[in-house]
Amino acid sequence: MVEHRTSAVTLGRGFWTATAVFAVLSALAIWFWTTTPLDIILPPVAAEPGAQIDSLLRFMAACGSALFIFVAGYIVYFAIAFRVRKDDAPDAIGVQVHDNHKLEFWWTIIPTAFVVLLSILSVRIWYGIQIAQPANGLTVEALGHQWYYTFRYPQIHGEITDEMHVPVNQPVVLNVTSADVIHSFWVPAFRLKADMVPGLINTIRFTPTKVGRYPIVCTEFCGTRHGEMDAEIPTENGKPNPGAQYFVVDTPANFEKWYHGWQVKNANASDALPTVSTGAISLAGGDAKAGGALFAQKCSACHAVGPFSQRIVGPGLKGVLHDPAHPNLVDGDPATPENVAKILQNGYKGDIGVMPNEAANGLSDKDIANLVAYLSSLK
């Protein structure tokens, strides 16, 4: 049995040599991560907060590499230096150290300091992405479908089913949501992503800085052809792949041309969604109670039973038919039961989000009558 001797705890020259080697290697790694262009592992950045994210990656990768070099380096070095040797007694034991409070203190404090530093840095960049981006840019809406995207622009009727264009160097506010299941909107070159969740509007704000065509990729599983919602996927048997849509950053002049082209093309497109049944709905015999139950199922995800200002996605609907401050409905028609029924029937494309029509909402004529009766009972 070997006596427990604390004096045996000396680190030795080999240890310091190894440490020096690891320090040099770490320095090299840090130098590499801070200076090398990241093109091998990241697509070239093409939007404003993207560069901030890259800088965070550089910081984390530099620290992470240094840490990994030290940990893996010591594992390899110790594994070689302290292997059991041929001339060791079979019951030879190692140096009996149990702990070292100073060492443990430092290797708790240093990671803590790193975590604090990383938190500060991440919060700053988070602020730059989530809060500080201009809120008054070009407001565009992207809607996920199985398995393609559609886009809507201010002053263009209907939906744009082709590629999406924005002008370079102008802030964009992109609201995303979904028509069916959860999708996601990711432009790798922008480093930004938002899930398209039905019934919920997520917003990303950025400023494209480089003219070009960038693939849009869906990263949330959305069904059989989820993989094809990536613009770079080759088309199948020569058929155009509907999911292959690009995010095009144009010069302002080209953007104007594209924008007007769609204005003309969609001049007659209706903002209302295609309807299923046409013709006026008889509102007689609407049952307010049944309408209330229906409201809870079909409407309450987007509309509150509260004052107009209590907005979820759409406005609060308490007193929609009896509110002197808002005599007209959102489509400009006077607030009468018949016009409310018309919106329920046809749906409505708002500034944000879209109210589904009766087909999408699964409403029968009777349901609409009940809902109108319920709405008109709210005062």
């Binding site: 049944a290 209330g292 139950a293 809870a296 199922q297 309450s300 995800a301 039973v305 979820i312």
Partner: protein, 210 residues
Amino acid sequence: MAVATLPHGATAGHADHGEVDQLYVETRALRLQGFLLFLISDCVLFSSFIFAYLYMRNSGQSWPPPGINHLDVAFAALNSVVLFGSGATMHYALENWKHNNFGRYAFFMIATIVLGILFLSGQAYEYTNLYFKEHVSWAGSGIFGASFFTLTGMHGFHVTVGVIYLTVLFLQSVHGVYTKDKYFGLTAGTLYWHFVDVIWVALFTIFYLI
């Protein structure tokens, strides 16, 4: 440590082997801890649904839920008092067992079971009312209906199990399964019944009061 949890200490002459039944003392401690851990995880099950309900209620849903105009708070308060009362009687049932007072034990135990059944009947009455008069249903009334019927239904299931459990315990105690010193089954039954009561405090609060 387990020795201390016996109410009177297991004294000579009571245990099967003529002295402290060490095996009982130790297995009782095991079973008690195991049972409490089971109740904790059961509590998490309820908490998850409660969290789900409160989360959805506070994320963009309008409140009170449209289409749900009335909940019979007065009747629910009455029904709650019935259930809480059964908790009190259960407590005294166990106390009387500990003090070797079989007659009173039997009275309180039966009272507990009867109150439990009364509560379940009240629950059934309330469900019928909601479904037929207020048109609130499990699958058709949005998140309120889903949460209300799932949570109260789960609770009602627990009460039903509890009533059966207590009945079995009572029959066992009549047949002399438990002695003055060995009655862990009754302790467990009491714990379970209190648990069911306490869950109802939370459910009553979230559905009827806030």
